[in-house]
Symmetry: C6
Subunit: 76 residues, 6 copies
């Protein structure tokens, strides 16, 4: 299971950077729990529970901090 | 579902930056749970539970850290 | 509901910066839950529960990280 | 209730910086809940619950990040 | 129990950096709980609970922030 | 109870830095709860609960961010 698809944190745009951040988080979870059926089995629970959705967005926010800094916030 | 509306982290003011941070968090949650009815169904719960409101503000604080750094804290 | 009163992260002192950080968190929560009665209704719960008070201080710590960096830690 | 005693983030040593970080967190909680009796009433609970102690140390870690950066990590 | 295998935060690629971040988190947990049987005994629980998987990915995100900054985001 | 043993964040290696981060977290908890018997009494609970172990590793990750930055990530 690749942890960093493309093996780079550099993206052309914030949108791509945001998507990469989501991918990093998902690949980490998939690395910890390789069973796709288990992960999909948990979705009806977390995808309908506000607290779980917020925690997922919290992880995304942390991952995006790293990607955004890596890309110098796409300022240029 | 666009993750970063406008595909830029740069805003004219802190107020706009703060609003963008809220938008990033909401679009991430909407990306994870596309069902607007599900999201709205959860609102009576999280919007009246102090712990959930605090977690939402925690995510906002993290997203705003990124936006503020991107805009060099609107110092100029 | 204004998210960043004064539309600036710059303050004269750490004390003002700390107060602004509290204000940012409160205005975010108020933005998510406009019902003041709902917010005040939750206070007897969160303001007497150690875990909730700690979570609130955690959000304050994150917001203050941003404000302190914006003001270059009031070093000068 | 003063939020930042001494109105400065600068300390002579890491030890003083660490103590200031604890003070910032405590003053924030005291600002949210002015009732000392309420705060002391919660102590038998949080001070004997591992998860609560960990959350308190998490807040301290975040506050210390800010103080350490403010003092350039006391490198000189 | 070594905390930082190789005693360096520098890696050749983001993929290796991401793996090192996972290792740091795991070695810390193993340092706190040396009993491998205890750790493995907990897996059926945390590896099938969405909230736990998210918390694990949150720790990974934090550790990766450090590794990525250490490697200047592998920009060169 | 000393908060920062050695009163410095500078260490020779990442391994020592990682150990210092653990020490900072532990000394903070011990500062909040001076009762060693209470702390040891909580261990059978937190040291066998995945969520608690993850939270402890989260605090370690935050403390290590500070120590690593203080030591310029031991790049030289």
């Amino acid at each position: 299971m690749v942890l960093v698809p493309g093996n780079s944190l550099l993206t052309a745009t914030p949108e791509e950077g945001r998507a990469l951040a989501l991918t990093l988080a998902r690949h980490t979870i998939h690395n910890i729990q390789p069973g796709l059926d288990v992960l999909q089995g948990g979705r009806p629970n977390y995808a309908t529970t506000p607290e779980s959705l917020m925690r997922a967005s919290q992880v995304e926010a942390l991952e995006f901090q790293t990607i955004a800094a890596a890309n110098n916030y796409w300022r240029s």
